[in-house]
C-alpha cells in the first residue's frame, strides 16, 4: 500500500513553500559532482520538511538532477517527490523497458510505483520544459511553488538565458 497517494503527492509538490535553510551562493564541488542543497517548509498547514537538491556531474555537466525530497516527520519513510533530469542516459519512461528514451525527463512519485514496491519516483516522462541545468532550476522553482521572494533571492532567473525559439 502506497505511503503517499497521488493527490497527496500533487499537493506536496505544489503547495506554496518558503526556504528556511537557503542554498549556498554557488555550487560546491564534492567528489565528482557539483552540488547545492536547500530546505523548505510549506507556507500553510502542511507539516514536515522539503529538501531541495541540485546536482551536476563534473565530467559530464549535462548529467544533472534537481529534485525535491520530503520528510513528513510522522513515521512514514522519506519520499522523493520530483526529479528534473538532464540527458544522462536512457530511461524507461512509463516503466516499459522496451521503449526507453534519451531526453530531458522528469521523475515524479506515484502511488502505483509504491504499490508495486518500486522506488516512488520510478516512472518518468520526457519533457520540453527545460534544456539545461539553469532552466531546470527555474522550472523546478515554479513547479514546487516557491515564494516569488525566495525564488528571486536564491534562484534569480537571468533574462539573458531566456531565448525565444519559435521552431
Amino acid at each position: 500500500m502506497a505511503l503517499f497517494n497521488d493527490a497527496e503527492i500533487d499537493d506536496l509538490i505544489s503547495c506554496p513553500k518558503e526556504i528556511f535553510e537557503p542554498p549556498a551562493k554557488t555550487l560546491k564541488l564534492v567528489g565528482g559532482h557539483w552540488r547545492n542543497d536547500a530546505k523548505m517548509k510549506a507556507a500553510a498547514d502542511t507539516k514536515g520538511i522539503f529538501f531541495m537538491f541540485m546536482r551536476r556531474n563534473e565530467d559530464l555537466p549535462e548529467n544533472f538532477s534537481v529534485g525535491l525530497r520530503y520528510n513528513a516527520n510522522d513515521g512514514r519513510s522519506e519520499i522523493t517527490l520530483l526529479r528534473c533530469n538532464g540527458k544522462h542516459g536512457e530511461f524507461t519512461g512509463t516503466g516499459d523497458q522496451s521503449h526507453p528514451h534519451w531526453d530531458f525527463h522528469i521523475h515524479k512519485a506515484t502511488a502505483i510505483a509504491q504499490d508495486a514496491g518500486f522506488a516512488a519516483e520510478k516512472f518518468a516522462a520526457r519533457t520540453n520544459e527545460f534544456a539545461s541545468y539553469e532552466q531546470a532550476i527555474q522550472y523546478f522553482v515554479r513547479t514546487v511553488n516557491l515564494s516569488a521572494e525566495a525564488a528571486s533571492k536564491f534562484f534569480y532567473d537571468d533574462p539573458q538565458r531566456n531565448l525565444n525559439f519559435t521552431n
Partner: protein, 258 residues
C-alpha cells in the same frame, strides 16, 4: 575483435554505444536503477596501446546516491570502501572505475554494474549492516550543531560511580541536561537505571532521550518503563534533528547557560 563487437555479441545485440566525449563511450545496456534510470557505464579509451580499458561511472553513482544519502561519516565511508574492495572496484575523487582487458570486458562490465547497484543501495541496507550509524549520526549532530551549549561527552556526575555515564552533558544554569541516544531496549533499561541512580543521589538534571525508533525497536514494557522515568523523549532521530535547536533554545532561555 573490437570491444564494441565483443559486448554486442555478449549482450545478444541488446546494447548500443554513445560517444559522450572524445575517448569516452557510454554503454547503453539494459541495466537500470530502481528509479528507472539507466546505470551509468562508460568506457574510457586506453591512454596508450596495450594499456587497460577503464570502465567507469564518471562520478554518477555517488552523485545519484547523494540525492538522499550522504557518505558523511567514517562508518559510511568504511562501508563504501568495503563494497568497492570486495568487488575489485576502485575510486578516485568520487569516480568509480575498474580496469580490464578486451578479453574480459563483458564480465568486468557486469561486475562493475553490480557494484554500482550495491553502492546505490547503501541507504537501504544501512540498518542491517551498521549497528552504530544511529549513534554516529547523533554524535555528529551534537558535535556540529549544539556546540554553543557546550556539550561534554561521556560525563560521569558521581565520581564514586564510574559505571554511570551520561552520553552528553549540557551545562545549564539551574540544572544540566543529560542527553542519551537509545537504540534498543537494552540501552533504554540501562539509561532508566542510570537516571534513577542520579535521582536517588539528588543530582539536579533533566534527562533527554533520543530514540532511534521508539515504536518499533522496544517492547511495550520498555516503552512504559522509560516513559515513566525520562523527562523528555524524541521518538526518532529525525524528530530530534528538526526540533533540537528550538528545544535547547527554550531550555536555555529559562536557564541561562553558565
Amino acid at each position: 575483435m573490437q570491444i564494441q563487437d565483443i559486448l554486442k555479441a555478449e549482450f545478444n545485440h541488446h546494447v548500443t554505444f554513445r560517444e559522450r566525449r572524445p575517448g569516452v563511450l557510454q554503454v547503453i545496456a539494459p541495466l537500470y536503477h530502481e528509479d528507472g534510470d539507466m546505470v551509468d557505464l562508460f568506457l574510457d579509451s586506453p591512454r596508450s596501446p596495450g594499456a587497460p580499458i577503464r570502465i567507469t561511472d564518471h562520478g554518477m553513482t555517488l552523485m545519484r546516491l547523494s540525492y538522499s544519502y550522504e557518505i558523511d561519516t567514517p562508518t559510511k565511508r568504511k562501508i563504501l570502501d568495503r563494497i568497492l574492495s570486495e568487488n575489485g572496484v576502485s575510486e578516485s575523487q568520487g569516480r568509480l572505475f575498474l580496469e580490464t582487458t578486451p578479453e574480459r570486458i563483458y564480465p568486468a562490465l557486469l561486475q562493475f554494474a553490480q557494484t554500482v547497484a550495491k553502492v546505490s543501495n547503501m541507504q537501504v541496507f544501512k540498518r542491517e549492516i551498521v549497528q552504530n550509524l544511529f549513534y554516529e549520526a547523533l554524535n555528529d549532530f551534537v558535535a556540529s550543531s549544539l556546540t554553543s551549549y557546550r556539550p561534554q561527552a561521556n560525563f560521569q556526575p558521581l565520581p564514586e560511580r564510574d559505571d554511570l555515564d551520561v552520553d552528553w552533558r549540557f551545562p545549564l544554569a539551574t540544572r544540566d541536561i543529560y542527553l542519551y541516544g537509545v537504540r534498543d531496549g537494552a540501552k533504554a533499561r540501562l539509561v532508566g537505571l542510570t537516571c534513577l541512580e542520579f535521582q536517588k543521589a539528588n543530582v539536579p538534571f533533566r534527562s533527554v532521550l533520543i530514540h532511534e525508533d521508539f515504536e518499533n525497536e522496544m517492547s511495550k514494557k520498555d516503552q512504559r518503563r522509560i516513559t515513566n522515568i525520562a523527562d523528555k523523549q524524541f521518538a526518532t532521530l529525525p524528530d530530534f534533528l528538526v526540533e533540537a535547536e528550538r528545544y535547547f533554545a527554550r531550555e536555555a532561555a529559562t536557564s541561562h547557560v553558565q
